[in-house]
């Protein structure tokens, strides 16, 4: 009988290692260029392609994170899954929890928003003036991730990314030690989640 270690005996990575920000930003930059090359100059299609990639990531993130966090129960309530997104998913993907989780004001109570004041993916991207105000690369990807997680967890929804200028006067770029410059983010990225009617009905049933 063979005594070599089989493929199934190797433990899954624990997820404690971090990837360098440079590597991630170059990879994401290449992803955007790849998507743009296949998008025939249409901004809408570029965002859709980035969202699709994010969707694939989101589906898998749900499985991996649930596996890694021992003792986590399956989320069946809306606030539970949103909290999971806001905290675990953001922390695992972007190294910090999201900045805000808010409930939108609509008559059906079906809108929620997750906001990030400094989306890591957008930190080094300067959108050219022609495309200004209409393409949000990191935002589209993040929206795709959120949609993937929600779909895989059984909460179908429509997810879109929106960018708004940060309130207050824009902070100036700062020069750190060793003459490294940091330009602070001026945009707050908000992921708007519009849950499906079926989800709301189920939530109402569970709440009763």
């Amino acid at each position: 009988m063979a005594t070599t270690q089989g493929r199934w005996d190797v433990p899954l990575p624990t997820g404690k290692s971090e990837v360098s920000l440079s590597a991630m930003s170059f990879l994401f930059s290449e992803l955007v260029q790849y998507s743009q090359a296949r998008s025939a100059r249409s901004i809408v299609e570029l965002e859709r392609r980035l969202e699709d990639v994010g969707y694939e990531v989101g589906e898998r993130m749900l499985e991996v994170l649930c596996l890694r966090e021992k003792g986590r129960r399956r989320e069946t309530r809306i606030l539970g899954i949103l909290g999971f997104l806001h905290t675990s998913v953001w922390k695992s993907l972007f190294g910090k929890v999201a900045d805000a989780l808010e409930k939108g004001v609509t008559e059906e109570d079906d809108e929620y928003m997750i906001s990030d004041n400094d989306l890591v993916l957008n930190r080094f991207i300067s959108v050219p003036k022609e495309m200004e105000n209409s393409v949000n690369c990191g935002g589209s990807f993040a929206a795709g991730v959120v949609r993937g997680v929600l779909d895989a967890a059984g909460f179908p929804a429509r997810v879109t990314a929106h960018a708004m200028p940060l309130p207050g006067t824009p902070a100036a770029a700062t020069v750190g030690p060793g003459n490294t410059v940091s330009v602070p983010s001026r945009v707050r990225t908000t992921i708007l989640i519009k849950l499906d009617r079926s989800v709301l009905q189920r939530e109402a049933r569970l709440a009763a």
Binding site: F28, L31, S126, K129, M131, A173, V175, N179, V183
Partner: protein, 147 residues
């Protein structure tokens, strides 16, 4: 710290093939603004001088044309391994501060290079060797050089 030691008047960035991809004046020039096509010509000439200096050098593989001293300004240059060249026009230092000035100018150039690597090269909308039009790069340079 030594903000008054080196005062950067202008910055020029030249790509691998000698074309000007970025130029910016940080201080209003008494001689008036340089026309864009003139600036491109000046950039190519400097690029050629740099190449000539490399060939004139007695030791092989030298890419060390570092500065040009004139009566009214100093020019300091950084040529990076990828082939891009950054040069700045600065003020003339006092004679006793010449060495610190040169060292400080080299530091400034390194910082500009770092900002380039950070905000230009990681921008998916920037095509390499093309003119630089990145808002974040401009903002970074303002913080670094307009003080």
């Amino acid at each position: 710290m030594s903000a008054s030691l080196v005062s950067v008047l202008s910055l020029y960035v030249i790509n691998k093939s000698g074309g000007l991809i970025y130029n910016r004046d940080f201080v209003q020039r008494a001689a008036g603004r340089i026309d864009v096509s003139d600036a491109m010509r000046l950039g190519s000439i400097w690029f050629s001088l740099h190449a000539i200096a490399a060939q004139l050098s007695p030791t092989p593989n030298a890419k060390t044309l570092k500065s040009l001293h004139a009566d009214t300004f100093h020019l300091h240059c950084l040529h990076v391994p990828s082939g891009t060249t950054f040069f700045i026009i600065t003020n003339v230092p006092a004679p006793n501060q010449a060495q610190q000035h040169a060292q400080r100018a080299a530091d400034v150039l390194q910082a500009v290079y770092a900002a380039y690597a950070k905000y230009v090269l990681r921008n998916p909308f920037y095509e390499t060797e093309m003119p630089i039009r990145c808002e974040l790069f401009d903002a970074a340079l303002s913080a670094l050089l307009s003080r």
